[in-house]
């Protein structure tokens, strides 16, 4: 069989959760069969009911999840007669060896070539490619800097401001931001001494310091004929410890001319690796609108829906068509950005204890149903958020004619999401949509850590109502034990619900 010539008929989904469902929905639309894998970790998962065929792998009790087991995935693909494989995101999506193994076994890998995955996955090669192609990079010294003179020369080359970093450092210690030559002469020895003191190693190096950057990424599509276009940007600056929480398309920070400039750079770096399928080029954008290439993600991304909404293009469909050898039917000039889209990642996390995962069973779940709300989820009532996988419950994706409308709708939608059983990131988003700086588009990647005093929103009376409930429970319980003499004209004794709770506790 020649995967290049023949259109795929059956796709093995080498993933789980919402992205597995997302891929299967498009495959069904295109009349392609899908195979999902049932695992022991979540044998009743929602994604299984979207597949045409389920491969049972619950007997496999290996420590490594099947979605990371290359040999096993290949053998499942062959055993089920699949002729293609979609890796989704995470797991093996950016593993060049896996992509190659698929091709070796005549499986159409729905993604870029192993060569592109490898080159973009290797930071040194990716940086070199960017440099060779004239893509702006946050430059740095290749090795350590030994004295002030060398430091001044290097900073001159990179452009101020620069940051001096301890070679053995971390956590902000031994770092000095330097804005001009005079400062450099003063600060170099200070930084070096500080490094010596803190890490017993005086070596330092220099990097371009990007002040309050925004994280802006461009969606790329490339076909096997070498056509490459971009589908505009996504704004992903709302992140915590490099975990994105909210994404939008487009970004308030870009005007058409900057979009054109950054977009053409994104296309240029993709061309350098003859990129095909969907991919994302990430940039940092500083307050002066200078941008710097960070990396390229060679997969479909979690936040792809916001791009789909503003461009009207189904990215999974494009991935499948490209893998089938079809030529892109869009030219760059066909791509129009319409309206605004915002995605909130609703995760099972406790915003009151540093966004710590809060695994558990989802007891109740209902999502608002409006034409302008899209919910991508792999979770339903009764599903468990298990410790073996990520903590995502759902992606709440909201569209509007402009950013203001999208935010207003988002605020409303957040109050209509109903989840019981685990704590979620909802209170964080409720806070965010009410934040003036967020509303004004005035935020950077440091926003959550620097600009927010607390990470959740509660309306004026919520605490009082919780206090009322606690008091009610106290009264009901103590009526049973008869330790307080209270008159229960309003009381109806202990509610069955409370009784249940108490039975479960013991």
């Amino acid at each position: 069989m020649n995967a290049e010539k023949e259109k795929m008929k059956k796709i093995l989904i080498a993933n789980r959760g919402e992205i597995a469902i997302r891929i299967m929905k498009t495959a069904r639309k295109m009349k392609i069969l899908t195979v999902a894998i049932r695992t022991a970790a979540e044998p009743d998962a929602m994604y299984l009911s979207f597949a045409d065929e389920v491969f049972d792998n619950t007997e496999d009790l290996s420590e490594i999840p099947v979605f990371l087991d290359i040999e096993k995935l290949i053998s499942i693909a062959l055993a089920t007669g699949s002729d293609a494989l979609h890796p989704g995101y995470g797991f093996l999506a950016e593993n060049a060896y896996f992509a190659q193994k698929c091709l070796d076994n005549n499986l159409n890998f729905i993604g870029p070539t192993p060569d592109a995955i490898y080159k973009m996955g290797n930071k040194t090669i990716a940086r070199r490619l960017a440099m060779q192609n004239g893509i702006p990079l946050a430059m740095g010294s290749d090795g350590n800097i030994s004295d002030e003179e060398e430091a001044v020369a290097m900073a001159e080359k990179i452009g101020y401001p620069v940051i001096i970093k301890a070679a053995s450092g971390g956590g902000g210690r031994g770092m000095r931001i330097v804005r001009d030559e005079v400062e450099m002469v003063k600060m170099f020895s200070v930084a070096s001494r500080e490094a010596e003191k803190a890490f017993k190693d005086p070596s330092v190096f220099i990097e371009k310091y990007i002040e309050n950057p925004k994280h802006i990424e461009f969606q790329i599509l490339g076909d096997k004929k070498g056509n490459i276009i971009h589908l505009g940007e996504r704004e992903c600056s709302i992140q915590r410890k490099h975990q994105k929480l909210l994404e939008e398309a487009p970004s308030v920070a870009l005007d058409p001319s900057l979009r054109k400039k950054m977009g053409s750079m994104a296309v240029r770096i993709a061309k350098a690796v003859k990129y095909l399928s969907a991919g994302t080029v990430e940039f940092l954008l500083d307050s002066e609108k200078n941008f710097y290439f960070m990396e390229m993600n060679t997969r479909i991304q979690v936040e792809h829906p916001v791009t789909e909404i503003v461009t009207g293009i189904d990215l999974i469909e494009q991935q499948i068509r490209i893998a089938n050898g079809e030529e892109l039917k869009y030219r760059q000039s066909d791509i129009k950005i319409n309206g605004w889209a915002i995605e909130c990642r609703i995760n099972a996390e406790d915003v009151q204890s540093g966004f710590a995962p809060d695994p558990g069973r989802i007891e109740k779940l209902s999502m608002p149903d409006y034409p302008y709300i899209r919910v991508d989820t792999g979770i339903r009532e009764g599903s468990a958020i298990v410790a073996s996988y990520d903590s995502m419950i759902a992606k709440l994706i909201i569209s509007g004619k402009d950013r203001r409308e999208a935010i207003t709708r988002c605020k409303m939608a957040l109050d209509k999401v109903w989840i019981k059983g685990v704590k979620t990131t909802l209170p964080f988003f409720r806070l965010l949509v009410r934040n003036q700086n967020f509303q004004d588009g005035n935020f950077t990647t440091a926003f959550i850590e620097k600009d927010l005093e607390k990470y959740y929103y509660n309306s004026e009376y919520e605490e009082m109502l919780a206090a009322w409930l606690a008091t009610k429970l106290f009264v009901e319980e103590n009526l049973q034990s008869d330790s307080i003499n209270v008159d229960f004209r309003d009381g109806k004794g202990m509610s069955p619900w409370l009784l249940n709770k108490r039975i479960n506790q013991f």
Binding site: S353, A356, K364, S391, L473, F474, I484, D487
Partner: protein, 175 residues
Amino acid sequence: MNNKLHINKLFALSSEKRKFSFTIPLKNKIRIGKRDYTVQLRSDDKFGTYILWKNRKYPVEVVRSRQNKYEILFNDISYTFTIETPFSLQRMKVLDSVRGKSVSESVKAPMPGKLLDVLVREGSTILRGEPLVILEAMKMQNEIQSPVNGTIVKVHAKPNTNVMKDDVLVEIKTE
């Protein structure tokens, strides 16, 4: 507690020492300004247990309750209250004035996991929000932060050890 005592008021004292008072028997009406609003605790198959207030439903859970201490999850945010009678509140005030204002706060592991790093020492002062330990769970490193301003009085956490949910990691004397 004297069970002959007639109690006409109860206080819910939050962990941040905010005080909410309710008349007993407890009414399902709460006065805001000049108006009374009805508050109802309800439960059904679609929504589970919720509070209905001003035509809006709020999800609620009792996370735990022990004696007079209640942890309530209300609209995804947890609140801890102790319920005090006028009598016990008076006694608390007396005790507080005797031993000074400070109280000890135990920081517990929010989930089972492995402690990668312990960032505080006994005797050091800490601000609310500062990291205490790094706990690895669900393949993620989680910073456990101090819920209060205070002084570390006891560190139970040891790096590279496993902890269970609710194991006490650090005790902090609040300011």
